[in-house]
Structure formats: structure tokens, C-alpha cells
Symmetry: C2
Subunit: 434 residues, 2 copies
């Protein structure tokens, strides 16, 4: 039974790989046509998809799924329209593949090009949110990658309806899309898939930290994912107090459930007496639970913060606050306890800001603005694969550019290496072409 | 005892991490000064280093190390001079960090920059060749990374002498280089280091396929490495026969011990009778052992090739040969049996060439030239970290650009996200700045 499952999964991955080779040279026109077909098919099947989702919702309610998860699971007509709009804007985006990134003449008639190209086969494992299925499949198609999808079991019927719509549309445009999008349905299958590092080139988990961690631990395939979002705002001694209050309020309160919301506020000791009472008043209005270190509690009456608070992602109206003696202490705290996601400084001093932006080792470092700006849409990247806290390949909000890599093409005219060695060796010119 | 070892290794990695933060904003001038100091120190300590290497060589001979490994282990005055020259050329290279890769106005006064920056802490595990220690440490210093080194135990004394020279030189330039270069000496320590995915950002193994594979299997840290080099040359029916012979000879014979040498020759059936006898004659002169499939053996008298030959990296004067019926068959063979390293086509037909270059899924794809050109120095990248067969981060010959990543910097003036949502929401401009 197990070996049969393995065979099935290997067959899926093999078809995916073959399809990925066909995609390598598929013209942009055809990829965009496939995207347009998906948008129109989603419109046509709206009722069917919504009713599949209603079934999932009813089943989930029966099994007692938490309210916040039910909300994520919901995929109604309004959300389908959003998905369609997002596909339409994806069609308008530049082709991410086939870009000449670099071109060098190695010698007369020997020209090297570095060209962007698809990665190959991408496995996407996501929880709840059915819109992720549409968003990520379409990003993969635009960038010429084949994709193997696995959603949460609570969304089974919705995912099936969406995957069917996508597969039917693209295959109707060209049979070369056979195998480009495939859906797996069981955990057992994903376990098998994660073993196939000879066929799958990249795994992107979209969901909880636990999901990302467990996948990292169970595969040799590169994983593009995020760890937690423990984001900081540091109020420097030379901060504009009004700006500091305004920005820190937004960073915590504008939408606390997301990874780019601030979790810890760091305050320079010399501005604490001016800043903290004003800030605390504003947070108190919004019912933010504040937890401060000892020095903080000299200025405002809040609960004490424990060591554990510095490395906790609340995703809620809770905030830890620490008074620091210097810029260096703030930076050390962020690099030590943070998750290298997004961290901001509020200061009027450009040199202080520069040092903070240089040394804080996070994918996004901000000066005088809210951490909540850290997001693919706000950055103008178009749709987003996710926010990566990796230190290699792609970091921060990742759009299409995280789904491509490059290859080198060398055009010669019978050139051989023997001519460039020994006596009378020819010399390389290494002339940069634009 | 074991937990003590773990503590030591964690301390090393921790120091490395702290040093990496100091390097994030170290000016190019100082990094180049450190490189110059290393070059001059290597010159001064030449006798000492050579004598350490002679001890290693003597010990290795006693333990019966294979001749080819002894040759790799040798690091004499001549090789030291080569290392020095390579450092001098590295000093001249552009700064790989601090480059503005992209710049966007999100809204008036809210400017986003994507800036190249160091990765952080890089662990390098290499076998034999002591010059790799110098080359990779200096590449890491140039790109602002801290590096933890582990060489083969047969080169212990040489590695120690080289690491001492490097560390003494850079620390003499600035104490901020404390911990930038560190040397581990036991396998046990490496095992521990590979567990520290919270401190080490990237592992680069330089050595045999077995080394690379065993490291991939034992760590969650991203690995930048190569698999084998099973490189192909495909002789299309529209090839210039003389060019095909000349290039295929170079690809196999110019230096067969390296990963970019050709291992399998694919020949279109309609050119086989013209090409194969001529080619075989030339290979026979060079004592190349040819192994052909059944169709090949209709044209030339050679040993039969087995299924295993198609996926074997000989690194020797041995070659497998297969006759194919079409371009598609050639491409399928390469994508199936190859190692996605370097593959070439010989043809006069530009459309045939284009299809080959598009669909062959290798980091380097060549038209009418020898696979032996696949190399960082020949590509004009300067010194090389290695050749990567990864599908993410860095692919093909990897120079300094494989040691950097990017961060996003956002400069605001009190901007908050609340202003961009709800009624009267401000709109993003997303204007590309150059």
C-alpha cells in the first residue's frame, strides 16, 4: 500500500518535471492566454466553487474548527472576484523569464549570456485560505514553473473545484500544459513528495510557523518560507515624539494579527519620559496590553515583561516594551531576539538611521515609518508568493522574481579551451556587453 | 565531553555571527586593506607555510594517501604566489555589497530601496587543496561575510599556518575583524556546526560528490554545492563535422579530470556515418576508451555501453557514445541522465540551437563550443566559490555574487499604513526610480 502511494506521487512529480521542460520555452503570449482562460473559467464556475466552499464550511463547523480558521476558509463570490482581478493584473506584468541579466564577450565570437529562467517544479503546501491556491498557481504559470499543490484538508472540496477550473482552462489553451498544475490531497502524499529531491526543485509552505518548521525538518529540497514576525520599532533619543507615537500606534494596532505588526517597542532612555506616557495613553485607549521591563515601569504603569516576551510573536493587542541605553543596545536586542523580518527606527538623525539600517540584519529595515508597510503589494511587487526570512535566494516580500533562477548560455563558433592554454595561448577579452 | 564540544562550537559560531554584524557596514576601503594585508603576510610567511605543507605531505605519504590527493595537497611557493595574485585581482573588483538593485517611490516621501548585502555567516568545508582556504576566506571578506573553515585533516598543519596568517593580518587592520575567519579542526565539530541553523546562514562544501551529498543530508542550513558533472555534447544532423570533431575532442581530452569535461557524446543518426569514424580515429590516438550503444557500434568498433554508463562521471579518458534519432531524443536523454551542469550542441541551424538552449535544464548550455569553458575564471567572474548545480540562489560558476543577498530599506517621514486603507485611502504611486 505504501509503495503504491510512493509510485503515484513519483508519477505526479515526474509529469510535473516533464511539463516544466515544456514550459521552459513557452512564449509569454501563451502563458498569458492561459491566465486569461483561468480568470474567465473562475467567473463561469463561480456558483459551483462557492457551493463547494459552503460544503467545506459546513463540515468544518461540524468538526468545531476555530472561528478565525473558518473565516480564512471562506471563499465567496467577493473573494473570487478579488482572485480574478489579481490574475488580470498578473497578466499585465513583465515577463520574468528570458531576461538577459548580463552579457559578456569572452573572446571574439564567444558570447556569454546570463538569462533568467523558471526554477522547474515547485511544491506549494498551504493551510486554509483557498485564494492562495489561485494566487500561487497563477504566479507559477506566469513564471513558467510547474506546480504541485496541497491545501488543508478542511478546504478539500473548494481546492478540488479550483484546481479543476485551473487545469481545465490551461489544458484547453494548449496540451503542453498537461501536468503543469497538479493537486495532491493527503498528508501521506506530501511526505512522499518531500523525499523526491531529484524531481522537486523548491518547496514553498504558506501557513503557520509550525508548518514551515516541520517542512524544513523533513526535506532536503530547498524551502522558501518565513519564520515568525517578531518586528521592532526603536524610538531613538533624537526622535520626533509625535511621529514616534503615530508610527508606533500604527505598527501595533492597524492590524495586529499579521506578521509585519510590531511586537516589541524599544525606547532610548533619554526620550522615555517624554515619549512613554503619551504612547501608553494612546495604546490604553485601544486596549493594548503593555508589558514593560523594569526601566519602562519607572515611566508608565504596565505589567512586567519576562525574558520570554522578547521572543514572542503575539499577533494580538499585546506589546512588550524595553528601555535601552543606546543605539547599539537596541540593535543588539533586535538581532538577538528578532526574527529578521521587519524592524524600524524613528529618529531625526541621519547617521543614527544609517547605522541602524546597515547593522540590523532583517529583510526589511525602515526609517520613520510603520513596519506594517512590509508587504509585496505595498512594495509594488504585484502578487506575493510570501514573505521570506531566508538568507539565500529570495528575502523579504517575494513576488515573481523568487520563482525564477538563471542559466548561462555560451554562443561560440567552434571555440575550444585548448587554444587558451599553454604557449601562444589566446587571451580572454572579458568585455562587458550591455 | 560531547556537550563541551557543542559549547565550543556554538561559541565559535556566535563570535562569527557577531563579527558578521560588524562587517555589514564595514567600508570597502577597510575590507580591501585587510585583503592587501593578507597578501603581504602570505609573502612574509612563505617559508613557514611551505614547511608546514611539507610536514603534511610527509605524514600523508606515510599513511599512504593516493598520489592524486598528494598532488592536490601540495602548496608550494609557486602556489602561494598564485594565491597572492588572486587576492590582488580580488581587491580590484567592484564592491558586491551596498549596490542599489532597485528603487521605487511607494508614495511621496516614502522611498523603497533593494540593496545588496552580505549573507552573514558562511561555513566552508573543503577537502585537500589548501589554496581553497585562501581563496574562499578572501572572497568572504570582500563580500562582508564571516567564515568558519574546516579543511581535510591531511592538510591540518598547512591550514593552521594559512588561517593564522589570515587572521593575524586582518585583526592587525581592525579589531572589528575579530571572529571574521575561524578554523575548526575536527569532524565532530563540523557535525555540531551543521546543527546550528540559527547561527550559520550558508554551507559551501568544496570537494567530492560524496562530501556534498553527506552534508546536504545532515543539515537544515542551505547548502550551495554541486552534484556530479555529467556533461554532454550533442552533434546535430546539421553540424559542421570538422567543428564537431574539434570541439568534442577538446571537451573530452583537454583535461578529463574535471567536472566540466564531457562524459557522453550524443550523435544524430543522419550524421553518424560521416562523423563517428573521423571522431573515433582522433579519440583512439589519445587513448580514449569509447563505449557505444548498439547503433554507434554499427559505425565504429567500440566496447558496448551499458545503462549505467549514461549516468557515470568518468573523470577520465573514457567516453560513452549514443546515436539518437532526433533533437528531442537528445534533449530528453540529457535532462534525464545528465547532472544539469554543462551541455553543448553543435549545429549550424539557429532554431535547433535555440530549442536546445531553451529546454536543456542545465546551468550552462553551449552552442558550438567546448563544455570545458564552464568555469568562473573563463566566464570573467574573477575568483570562484565553486560550480553550483542548485536550482535556487546561485547556479553555475559562482563568484562574489553568490555570497550576497539583499535587504529592503524603506525611508519615510512618519508614514503609516492606516492612511492607505478605508475611506479616503491614499494611493500608492509605485513609481520606479532608476
Amino acid at each position: 500500500m505504501l509503495s503504491l502511494a510512493m509510485e503515484t506521487v513519483r508519477k505526479v512529480a515526474q509529469e510535473s518535471k516533464e511539463s516544466s521542460y515544456r514550459l521552459q520555452c513557452m512564449p509569454l503570449e501563451k502563458r498569458n492566454k492561459a491566465l486569461a482562460a483561468i480568470a474567465s473559467e473562475l467567473k463561469k464556475r463561480k456558483t459551483k466553487i462557492v457551493s463547494a466552499n459552503e460544503n467545506d464550511l459546513a463540515n468544518a463547523e461540524k468538526t468545531g474548527l476555530a472561528k478565525v480558521l473558518l473565516k480564512r476558509l471562506k471563499y465567496d463570490a467577493h473573494k473570487i472576484d478579488e482572485s480574478i482581478r489579481s490574475i488580470e493584473s498578473l497578466i499585465k506584468q513583465d515577463d520574468p523569464i528570458g531576461k538577459i541579466l548580463d552579457s559578456t564577450e569572452l573572446d571574439k565570437g564567444l558570447i556569454l549570456e546570463k538569462v533568467s529562467c523558471p526554477i522547474g517544479v515547485i511544491a506549494i503546501i498551504f493551510e486554509s485560505r483557498p485564494e492562495a491556491l489561485v494566487q500561487i498557481s497563477t504566479l507559477c504559470i506566469k513564471s513558467g514553473n510547474a506546480v504541485i499543490l496541497k491545501g488543508g484538508s478542511e478546504a478539500d472540496q473548494t481546492n478540488k473545484a479550483l484546481a479543476d477550473a485551473i487545469i481545465d482552462s490551461i489544458v484547453s489553451i494548449d496540451r503542453d500544459f498537461d501536468g503543469t498544475v497538479q493537486l495532491l490531497s493527503t498528508r501521506e502524499q506530501i511526505k512522499k513528495l518531500l523525499e523526491l529531491d531529484d524531481l522537486v526543485d523548491l518547496v514553498i509552505p504558506r501557513g503557520s510557523n509550525e508548518l514551515v518548521r516541520s517542512i524544513r525538518e523533513s526535506t532536503k529540497i530547498p524551502v522558501l518560507g518565513h519564520s515568525e514576525g517578531i518586528c521592532h520599532t526603536y524610538i531613538d533619543e533624537e526622535a520626533d515624539v509625535n511621529m514616534a507615537v503615530r508610527v508606533s500606534f500604527d505598527a501595533k494596532c492597524q492590524y495586529p494579527a499579521v506578521c509585519n505588526a510590531m511586537e516589541t517597542l524599544l525606547v532610548h532612555k533619554d526620550i522615555a519620559s517624554k515619549f512613554l506616557p503619551k504612547m501608553a495613553k494612546k495604546y490604553a485607549y485601544a486596549n493594548v496590553e503593555m508589558r514593560g521591563d523594569e526601566k519602562t515601569r519607572r515611566h508608565i504603569k504596565v505589567k512586567p515583561a519576562s525574558e520570554k516576551d522578547w521572543s514572542t510573536e503575539y499577533n494580538d493587542f499585546i506589546l512588550s516594551i524595553k528601555v535601552v541605553s543606546s543605539l547599539d543596545e537596541a540593535i543588539d536586542h533586535i538581532n538577538r531576539y528578532g526574527s529578521h523580518h521587519t524592524d524600524a527606527i524613528i529618529t531625526e538623525n541621519v547617521l543614527t538611521a544609517r547605522k541602524f539600517l546597515d547593522i540590523v540584519d532583517s529583510s526589511s529595515v525602515f526609517w520613520n515609518c510603520s513596519t506594517r508597510f512590509s508587504d509585496g503589494y505595498k512594495y509594488g511587487l504585484g502578487a506575493e508568493v510570501g514573505i521570506s526570512t531566508n538568507k539565500t535566494h529570495a528575502r523579504g516580500p517575494v513576488g515573481l522574481e523568487g520563482l525564477v533562477i538563471y542559466k548561462y548560455r555560451l554562443y561560440g563558433n567552434g571555440h575550444i579551451v585548448a587554444d587558451y592554454s599553454g604557449k601562444d595561448a589566446k587571451k580572454f577579452t572579458h568585455r562587458k556587453l550591455t
